[in-house]
């Protein structure tokens, strides 16, 4: 066997290995329902903040507790052991990474999508004119 063949085989082995690791590491987008079924696996849930339900932040323990609604309307209480993100209430969409437990969803990371910075230029102008 020529050396180039050995190299090619090693490369292929590395590629397959990396692919498997990546697929294993990749989480899936889920609903709270799916997260509940797959607990304690880590999943990513995209949803919105439920502003009707209380949003409690306890600075002593820096524990945030709120309710989120996923894209299919399922809701769950979410616990986030970090300070409340700035402008949390203004978020349009929140992406929660974490796992479900028997009673609630424990988020380890929250990404927020805030209203676009290109806010209502037309409205600003329209309101001000005439």
């Amino acid at each position: 066997m020529k050396r180039s063949h050995i190299i090619a085989l090693v490369v292929i082995a590395v590629l397959i290995g990396a692919l498997l690791v990546t697929l294993q590491d990749a989480s899936v987008y889920a609903t709270f329902d799916l997260a509940e079924k797959q607990k304690p696996e880590t999943v990513t849930v995209v949803g919105t903040l439920d502003l009707e339900s209380p949003i409690d932040f306890n600075p002593q323990t820096s524990m945030l507790r709120f309710t989120a609604v996923d894209k299919e309307g399922g809701r769950s209480v979410v616990l986030y052991n970090q300070p409340k993100p700035t402008d949390f209430e203004r978020s349009e969409e929140i992406t929660l990474t974490g796992h479900a437990t028997d009673s609630l969803f424990v988020a380890t990371e929250i990404l927020m999508k805030c209203p676009s910075k290109y806010t209502n230029q037309e409205e600003v102008v329209a309101d001000a004119s005439l």
């Binding site: 050396r3 690791v21 590491d25 989480s27 990513t44 002593q60 052991n81 992406t95 037309e122 001000a128």
Partner: protein, 830 residues
């Protein structure tokens, strides 16, 4: 119509310059294209100089167009012409002048323009230096510029929008067309919204953001030049000669792009509070990947240069680097990363155009490559196992695999678009999400690659082309011994017992010592010859610094409150105002806060215990001396959201990095005067109610002081009431209260009455019915909680190795470029 105060002329001038740059690029591609497909011999025999000159002049016109475009955009930003959509969106009056540059490239249009500018500058340099390569390279570059300029055109062809112009006026936006106000000639004076713009994203108001984008885009532009040479080489069948002129450009690109990427890291470290300089964010990844392949391409070029054969992989890698820049552009600008990245650009609706840009160059350059692939000269024999070229090739392959892995994981959103449940070919049942723990994912795969690369970097200088005598290899032994000693001590001292981490530390140190040894002993520390060694040892330091500062990053702020056994104590320390709190190895105290412009700055003092203590019984707290103060701040921005920004104390061997993770954003005085828990109550004379569980409120009498009826209508015109009540505290103290209420023609005035010495205030809200039931509201003052902030603090050990390495790497690769330029200049003059 003439619009008052509007800079209509400038807007049109700007668009003219964009059109000029577009037309110039088109003409230049056309004129150069005439000759690009003739062979060099043919061109030398029958030169058509007028065509060449026409190409040059067209490119010069194009460059003039680009220059003019920048000029007009800067003029608009500097003079705050808010009728320009771009100016309105990206700047505001109160913004410091030095950040005007950041406004310039905050938007997609501006950053395209930046990229185009560097291409134009490098293109002019190519015209001066490329000689026989001028035709192919400038034709290809003009085509690239044509695509870039089209992104700025902002014209409609039928219903299809071609590009997005930075000079479009707000009244010309599609959403505003035909609105009544656009018909007013004095709309700028009438409508207050035009007096100020939206302002720059606070995250970008940082000096790194003034220099990081131009450096990064110069790096991207430098990746283009070797690509131009590679394409020209394929067209003109000059498969090996092209590496000579391409090499200096390649290492120039390696230096500048690498520096640009690390500047981005420095910005993230200083301005963002995610706690580090690298987060494997898709946007960061997509600028790192072309750098990795460019480094690989540069090393492969050196193999071609020395062996004068087998250029296939080299050409491929060079073309790939440029295509990856285009792919990176597509990822960050098309909005496809939306869910997975915090700092991608906002979608401008240019996706089709971006895809065409990517598709055109991918298809055409790969077509040329595979068309010529069968003719590429192949090496007669395999490289010897002990040759430098063999191991250099392995190194390049490792870099390619590393780049491939990063690209694959970063492209997960793209896979969703292609084969996800709503994609073109729905193969997946569920959408894939990026790895939950990005750092763990990338580290586990990238560290092995980094280990291989560092070992090769260490051995590289001691290897020779074709065959390395063992005596030469033995020279590396000294470095191996040094590595064993220092590495062992470092692993023990840092307690770095993770196998992968320890292996990277050792291999990184080996690369450092081997290159330092080679430079100092065998090159006698000469600067001119040491470029390669310096760049390699710099990169080794970057790896070692990144490894130690990340693996041994220590959160010193911990919240001691026990929550639940499933919840680890988190990394936020509670700092009540004025208290001195232990945060090992420091004591910290939040002293106060002040406003500095838009920033709410928190003054935090750090103390150290003065050793030795006179006696332990005395306690540490009585022996504190101020060590340093930090000012983490929160940038207040009503429009785009508040941003917490870190503050860092630098030591030679560590950084202490803090930011405020939670704070009440009102000033301390406001917080103290905060009335909360409003409680409403209805009662009658003689009733008792409980207030806030601590007080008993008794209704005494309701007195009508004055009542006047309107004689005409018989309605009540003036009424004055006083409600007498008694508040009884738990300890039995009683407080008499008088609450006023006045009505004048339906105007109610009922002042809130604060009680002397009690954190209570009350208001009389009026009489409910004829029985004399009345309504009151009571508030309690928030006194139980003193103001506090939550803070996170981390120690990054030896992070300075990273920055030092970055500087050495940048300088080293520039020295290597200089050496090559110097050689080629002197060899030509001979």
């Amino acid at each position: 119509m003439n619009y008052l105060g509007e800079h209509t002329f400038w807007s049109e001038l700007g668009r003219f310059f964009v059109a000029l740059s577009f037309a110039g690029a088109l003409l230049s591609a056309f004129f150069y294209g005439f000759q690009a497909f003739r062979s060099p011999a043919e061109r030398a025999e029958r030169p058509v100089l007028p065509l060449r000159n026409a190409g040059r002049w067209s490119f010069a016109l194009h460059a003039l167009g680009v220059l003019g475009t920048i000029g007009v955009l800067f003029a608009a930003l500097f003079n705050h012409w808010f009728e320009f959509d771009y100016v309105w969106r990206h700047s505001s009056l109160d913004m410091p002048m030095e950040y005007i540059a950041s406004c310039f490239w905050e938007g997609q249009e501006g950053s395209f323009l930046l990229w185009m500018t560097w291409h134009a500058v490098l293109g002019l340099l190519l015209i001066k230096t490329a000689k026989t390569w001028e035709y192919g390279t400038l034709m290809t570059l003009s085509l690239i510029q044509l695509f870039l300029a089209s992104m700025l055109l902002g014209v409609y062809i039928g219903d299809v929008k071609l590009g997005s112009s930075p000079f479009v006026l707000i009244r010309e936006l599609p959403d505003n067309l035909g609105l009544p106000w656009t018909q007013l000639s004095d709309y700028l004076l009438r409508i207050p919204a035009f007096r100020d713009g939206q302002g720059l994203n606070p995250l970008l108001q940082n000096y790194w953001m003034v220099i990081h984008p131009p450096t990064l885009f110069l790096g991207f532009a430098a990746v283009t030049i070797p690509f131009l040479y590679a394409v020209t080489a394929l067209i003109e069948k000059r498969y090996t000669e092209w590496v000579l002129p391409a090499l200096p450009w390649t290492f120039f690109g390696v230096s500048i792009l690498g520096t640009g990427i690390l500047m981005g890291g420095a910005w993230a470290y200083e301005a963002l509070s995610f706690g580090g300089f690298w987060a494997w964010d898709p946007v960061e990844n997509s600028s790192l990947v072309p750098w990795l392949t460019l480094v690989a391409a540069g090393h492969l070029m050196m193999i071609v240069k020395h062996k004068n054969s087998s250029p296939g992989t080299t050409l491929f890698m060079t073309v790939l680097s440029f295509l990856l820049v285009l792919y990176s552009t597509f990822l960050t600008r098309s909005g496809i990363l939306g869910d997975s990245s915090v700092h991608a650009f906002v979608d401008l609706g240019l996706n089709g155009q971006l895809l065409a840009f990517l598709g055109f160059f991918t298809l055409s350059s790969l077509a040329v490559f595979f068309w010529r692939a069968r003719f590429l000269p192949k090496s007669a024999s395999e490289d010897a196992f002990s040759s430098r070229e063999f191991w250099m090739f392995i190194g390049a392959l490792t870099l390619l695999l590393s780049a491939g892995q990063i690209t694959f994981s970063t492209s997960i959103p793209v896979f969703n678009k292609l084969i996800g449940p709503e994609g073109l070919l729905p193969l997946l049942g569920n959408k894939l999400a990026p790895p939950a723990d990005a750092a763990a994912h990338y580290n586990s795969l990238q560290i092995p690659f980094a280990i291989i690369v560092s070992v090769l970097m260490g051995l590289g200088p001691f290897m020779r082309w074709k065959d390395t005598p063992n005596a030469l290899l033995r020279r590396a032994l000294a470095s191996a011994v040094a590595t064993a000693v220092v590495g062992g001590l470092a692993i023990w001292g840092l307690e770095l017992y993770d196998v992968l981490y320890a292996a990277l530390l050792v291999s990184g140190l080996f690369a450092f010592f081997a290159n330092a040894d080679y430079w100092l002993r065998y090159l006698r520390g000469k600067w001119t010859a040491g470029g390669m060694a310096l760049a390699h040892l710099g990169f080794a330091l970057v790896l070692v610094g990144a490894l130690i500062s990340n693996a041994k990053k220590e959160a010193i702020s911990t919240n001691a409150t026990f929550i639940h056994e499933d919840f680890p104590a988190n990394e936020n320390i509670l700092l009540p105002l004025g208290d001195t709190v232990s945060m090992y190895p420091y004591y910290v105290s939040w002293k106060g806060e002040h406003m500095d412009g838009h920033n709410r700055v928190y003054d935090v003092d750090f103390y150290e215990v003065e050793l030795p203590l006179a006696s332990w019984a005395d306690g540490e707290r009585n022996h504190l001396k101020t060590s340093f103060s930090l000012q983490p701040f929160i940038q207040m921005n009503a429009r785009m959201g508040n941003v917490r920004e870190p503050s860092t104390q630098h030591f030679w061997n560590k950084d202490v990095y803090t930011y405020v993770s939670y704070a009440d954003l009102r000033s301390i005085e406001e917080q103290a005067g905060d009335w909360k828990d409003p409680q409403e109550a209805t009662l009658q004379t003689g009733d008792d109610i409980f207030l806030f569980n601590d007080y008993l409120l008794h209704g005494d009498t309701l007195v009508v002081v004055d009542a006047v009826f309107d004689p005409a209508s018989g309605e009540l015109a003036h009424l004055e009431l006083v409600l007498n009540m008694t508040l009884k505290a738990m300890d039995g103290t009683t407080y008499p209260i008088q609450l006023p209420y006045q009505l004048d023609n339906n105007e109610v005035s009922n002042a809130e009455v604060e009680l002397d010495g009690l954190p209570i205030k009350l208001r009389f809200d009026g009489v409910q019915d004829e029985q004399g039931t009345y309504k009151i509201t009571a508030w309690k003052k928030k006194t139980e909680e003193p103001p506090f902030i939550l803070m996170q603090a981390f120690i990054f050990p030896y992070i300075n190795l990273l920055w030092l390495g970055a500087i050495l790497m940048g300088v080293g690769s520039l020295l290597a470029v200089w050496k090559r330029l110097y050689r080629s200049l002197t060899s030509q003059s001979k």
